[in-house]
């Protein structure tokens, strides 16, 4: 078996791997949601100011 595939299987058989991923993805989901929302809010603000001139 390809050593890298074996390493992946071993890694993914460890429950700690999935627990760490759950934590990481939870934080990432909230962070990316806010990044998108605040990015859009900033864009609206720029358009608002530009339209007001």
């Amino acid at each position: 078996m390809n050593p890298s595939v074996l390493a992946t299987i071993l890694l993914q058989s460890d429950p700690a791997y999935w627990e760490a991923m759950k934590h990481r993805h939870l934080v990432l989901a909230y962070a990316l949601t806010w990044a998108v929302q605040l990015g859009y809010a900033a864009w609206i603000f720029v358009r608002w100011r530009r339209a007001g001139r």
Binding site: L26, A29, V36, Q37, I44
Partner: protein, 243 residues
């Protein structure tokens, strides 16, 4: 109206902070999935509000088509309302499409699958991105009419997205709310759900209102520029006829 908008910001901010506290610290940890289930509070609220914003865009688009000849000024405000709601809907849909795979990977073991719920949501996103592209890049003239037609037909996908988990057996979970017997949520989870729905509704309405007024300003400026250009043309012609 502007004062109301500026008061809305701190109220929505407080709601969002409390919604976050509910989602992360107060709601109980789900027994099977653990903490990753806390994505649900943002995912559910934002997905349902996405439907609301697309619905408002749909209604405003019908309004635009209905009055575009009889009352062009009112049609402009319908058009601005449709565009503002479509934009907020697209932003909310993007968030749903980001959160979904991040939740799916540790729970299902895969990032994505082409089941009916996920695919129809992606199609909905692409339809409204196409709507925004038309608004941005189409040559002026029929752009607003064309965009309104896209918004109306695009909205047909919303019931498909909503009912897909009832009509088909999907990888996405069956409805936990209103899904029949043996479905439902823990009352403590409901509290967090309602706070986050209220918070994201407040936030979305605020963004939509700011965007609406911004578009109205742009429309007025374009009308003023067109009027000034027309007046300048008439002045030139008047001077030429005097000669």
């Amino acid at each position: 109206m502007k004062k109301l908008l500026y008061l809305w910001l701190p109220a929505t901010g407080a709601l969002l902070i409390y919604g976050f506290m509910q989602a992360w610290y107060i709601a109980p940890t789900e027994a099977t999935m653990g903490n990753i289930q806390r994505i649900f509070y943002y995912h559910f609220a934002i997905a349902n509000l996405m439907f609301l914003f697309f619905f408002l865009s749909f209604i405003a688009s019908i309004g635009y088509l209905a009055v575009r000849r009889s009352n062009p000024l009112r049609a402009q405000s319908f058009d601005a309302f449709a565009l503002a709601n479509a934009e907020v809907g697209v932003v909310y849909c993007a968030c749903v499409l980001i959160q979904g795979p991040l939740w799916a990977r540790p729970v299902w073991g895969i990032w994505w699958t082409w089941d009916e719920r996920l695919t129809s949501t992606l199609i909905l996103f692409l339809i409204y991105v196409a709507y925004l592209m038309v608004r941005r890049f189409a040559v002026a003239g029929q752009t607003q009419t064309l965009a309104a037609v896209i918004a109306i037909f695009g909205f047909l996908d919303v019931p498909i997205v909503y009912f897909s988990i009832r009509w088909w057996r999907t990888q996405h979970p069956s409805p936990v709310i209103g899904g029949g017997p043996n479905t439902g949520l823990d009352p403590r989870i409901w509290v967090a759900v309602w706070w986050n729905l209220a918070a994201w509704l407040g936030w979305g309405l605020m963004l939509m209102a700011f965007r609406y007024y911004s578009i109205r300003r742009e429309q007025r400026r374009e009308q003023e520029q067109a009027l000034a250009a027309l007046e300048a043309t008439l002045d030139i012609r008047g001077e030429e006829s005097k000669r």
